[in-house]
């Protein structure tokens, strides 16, 4: 069932290097009868940096946003499509289950958050909030069996004590979503292996190595495209392939597409909102 209003936290990357994730997610939500209300004046969730510099701040920042959703916006669900932001929100909500931490966090934020907001990642929104039946009913341009390797990466599912993911070592909800829109999800080995994340800014050699392994396995398992739900995974898997190609001339690139773009294409979202021209590895053939 749809026609629901969700608070929306885009996060820094969706306004920076992943505008197509933002626009495709918003357009797909609209087509699925979801109303998104962006949190006014949202702050950075603290990302990778805060939890290795100031632990208390790293918990307080997402909890501050959750308090805004609960008490200012009076909504009970928050969509956080960026997997890294999602992880910080789930971690914040988990950490304040400890009363001592909760007291410190309330002192930082200036008010208490009472736990009234369900935090949903991109896969949750399609799989649970919309639901597979409802999604199937909205499909107007199904894919014709496009072979897709669903790449979950790290933070959609780990650690499971925080995300409450059903099967963190071999998740399947994204697979179920792509199957609903006519793709053929593949079994493969690197579903939840790390792409190197922010090491792409400083240790490019390591990231090229990790990305190379992931894509090589996806290709060996028959993937015509890789589906992702994280802006950093997308920019690494997509962008680093152009660098791998420079070092390895026989490299066969595989398009790396946000789940929101795949869903959007299948339910009739226009190409401009899908942002298909922003990819470094061309996606037009598989998205045609």
């Amino acid at each position: 069932m749809s026609a629901k209003t969700l608070a929306y936290y885009p996060g820094c990357s969706l306004h920076g290097t992943s505008g197509e994730f933002d626009s495709s997610f918003k357009a797909s939500a609209r087509a699925l009868d979801l109303t998104l209300q962006e949190i006014p004046d949202w702050e950075c969730c603290g990302n990778t940096a805060a939890h290795s510099i100031n632990r208390l701040l790293s918990v307080a920042l997402p909890v501050n946003e959750l308090a805004k959703v609960e008490q200012d916006m009076k909504l009970d669900a928050l969509a956080v499509p960026c997997a890294a932001c999602f992880s910080r929100f789930k971690t914040g909500a988990h950490e304040i289950e400890d009363e001592g931490v909760a007291a410190d966090v309330s002192a930082v934020v200036g008010r208490a958050y009472n736990g009234g907001v369900a935090v949903q990642n991109l896969v949750d929104v399609y799989h649970d909030t919309v639901g597979l039946e409802e999604l199937a009913a909205k499909v107007t341009r199904p894919f014709e069996g496009l072979k897709v390797a669903c790449y979950y990466g790290c933070l959609l599912t780990r650690p499971p004590k925080v995300t409450l993911a059903e099967d963190p070592e071999y998740p399947t909800h994204m697979d179920a979503v792509v199957k609903t829109i006519g793709c053929q999800p593949l079994d493969w080995n690197y579903k939840t292996d790390c792409c190197g994340a922010s090491l792409a800014l400083t240790e490019q050699g390591i990231v090229d190595d990790l990305v190379g392994r992931i894509i090589t396995d996806a290709r060996a398992c028959g993937a015509e495209a890789i589906a992702v739900a994280c802006p950093l995974c997308q920019v690494n898997l997509d962008g680093r392939q152009t660098e791998i190609l420079r070092k390895q001339s026989d490299w066969k690139s595989v398009p790396v597409i946000f789940l929101s773009q795949l869903v959007g294409r299948a339910i009739g979202v226009d190409d401009k909102a899908l942002g298909l021209k922003k990819h470094l590895v061309d996606v037009t053939a598989v998205m045609a």
Binding site: C12, S13, H15, G16, T17, G19, D41, W42, E43, C44, G46, N47, T48, A49, A50, H51, S52, I53, N54, R55, L56, L57, A60, L61, N64, D98, A107, V108, V109, G110, C154, L155, R158, P159, P160, P168, E169, T192, D193, C194, G196, A197, S198, L199, L201, T202, E203, Q204, I206, L210, V235, G239, R240, T242, E243, R246, K277, K278, H279, L280
Partner: protein, 191 residues
């Protein structure tokens, strides 16, 4: 030959900082077999845990491992003892910074700080600013962007501008968090 002098000092510090008990580790090495970056460093997560138990502070900080950790949470997910190993590695990064023990050849340490400073300054993290400031500090890093950077800009993949968050609210929260953390540290409690 390196000799180990068990002291327990680091284990106590680390445990106090992140509410984890490193002594629960019995060296099964599941963390290390699943670690995506262990092969690029001198130490792997199980060795880090052992060094923490033995108080081998310098051994950890002389290796790059903690600065290559991506925070993928595989170690934490798989630990049969339920230790949040990734949180311990975060805590080691915090201690290294506080005690001036950041590895000299770990650009990721400086990048994390640039990232932190960016969202503290603007209320939101500005990706283009991180790369620009890193290149200014570390001109050699420009080489890594010569090819990919312009391609991303030409495709419109990067939005070079920033829409600020509520920077005043951010500054207030940062000040509150830092003062509470510092007060706890002086009392010898959790950092």
């Amino acid at each position: 030959m390196t000799t180990c002098t068990p002291s327990g000092v680091l284990a106590t510090k680390v445990g106090a900082g992140c509410a984890e008990n490193p002594y629960k580790c019995y060296q099964c090495k599941k963390c290390s077999t699943g670690c995506p970056v262990a092969r690029y460093a001198g130490m792997h997560p199980a060795q880090i845990m052992r060094a923490v138990q033995l108080g081998q502070y310098d051994m950890i900080f002389e290796d790059k491992f903690i600065w290559l950790c991506t925070g993928c949470e595989t170690c934490t997910t798989r630990c049969p003892q339920g230790i949040d190993i990734a949180a311990i590695i975060d805590e080691l990064k915090i201690i290294a910074r506080r005690d001036g023990k950041v590895h000299p050849d770990a650009p990721s340490a400086a990048m994390l700080k640039l990232n932190y400073d960016s969202f503290v300054r603007w209320g939101r993290m500005w990706e283009v600013e991180l790369i620009t400031r890193d290149v200014l500090k570390r001109p050699a890093s420009a080489k890594a962007w010569l090819s990919l950077g312009p391609k991303m800009l030409l495709k419109g993949k990067v939005n070079p501008t920033l829409k600020k968050g509520d920077a005043a609210a951010m500054k207030r929260m940062v000040q509150n968090a830092e003062s509470i953390t510092n007060a706890r540290q002086q009392k010898g409690g959790p950092a």
